[in-house]
Symmetry: C3
Subunit: 125 residues, 3 copies
Amino acid sequence: MDGGTAYVSGQVAFAGPDGPLLGKVGSDLDAEKAAGEAGKAVANGLYRLIETFGSLDVVQRVLKLTVFVNATAEFTEQPAVANGASRVLIDVLGDRGRHARSAVGVASLPLGVPVEVELVAKVAG
Amino acid sequence: MDGGTAYVSGQVAFAGPDGPLLGKVGSDLDAEKAAGEAGKAVANGLYRLIETFGSLDVVQRVLKLTVFVNATAEFTEQPAVANGASRVLIDVLGDRGRHARSAVGVASLPLGVPVEVELVAKVAG
Amino acid sequence: MDGGTAYVSGQVAFAGPDGPLLGKVGSDLDAEKAAGEAGKAVANGLYRLIETFGSLDVVQRVLKLTVFVNATAEFTEQPAVANGASRVLIDVLGDRGRHARSAVGVASLPLGVPVEVELVAKVAG
């Protein structure tokens, strides 16, 4: 938190009953499946904001979404993956969920998860 | 926008008449060519600011430039690529264009472009 | 600097007498060794703040730490590497050193160093 700016640590999708979904996008899973994981990861980011502030009412605007895709060297659909996260932000927060965004393919991610997302949000107070 | 802070989404170079320049830096194209693409990408970032604010007069300072280079595992000249973007910022904005910077090689980028850049800027108002 | 927010450029570990430690994490060096390099890199980030502000007294809070690990496609211990940087921030700054964090594996880094870190900090004034 910096005055009105909240930085949320990189988030991954919650583990399912069989553990987290792992794998490289472009070989082990496709963009559509990865978009679902991006959505779950950003939902965890919103959960962190609720933990910190008690609710999402304080969120005035999502300022920045960064989507790191654990991708092959040939993968080119990073925006399609990121859309899974963007949709959740808009669905939950409406116009307050609109954001600047970057999406890149990285070499590897913690645990071997396919997607990690980070958020910067403007908050009241 | 967060009060005086503007976040610009990741930008790539505009497509030429034959479509965008694609390829991996370190194999398909070299650092010098990629630096030119970084310059075009950051110019698009400035264009986004003009779209939002009407002109660059409101830009008090570029705070941060991040340069994602679609690079081979052996590529080490990320700073030379980023210089292409830094030069454009200084050329256009003078001292207001000075910035903190990070440059990293990523596994892959949208469409297969060689460079993506993102900007954070301090703006008046 | 944006009012109270300082952006520190991507930092790598200082070169030793034989030049900088180079290599890919997951093959050339392991997570523990890379964590040491992350710690040295973030110490350089603190040094930049001292250069700019005269001391670390002005640092009210580290807002964000991003750790880029020059990693193989199979590497999954990015958090262990990042811990090397987080520990230095807490050791030096105490509670003021607590931070949001992201850690990702990238394809390549400047010079071939194993780790690059960037910082955003809230500063007085």
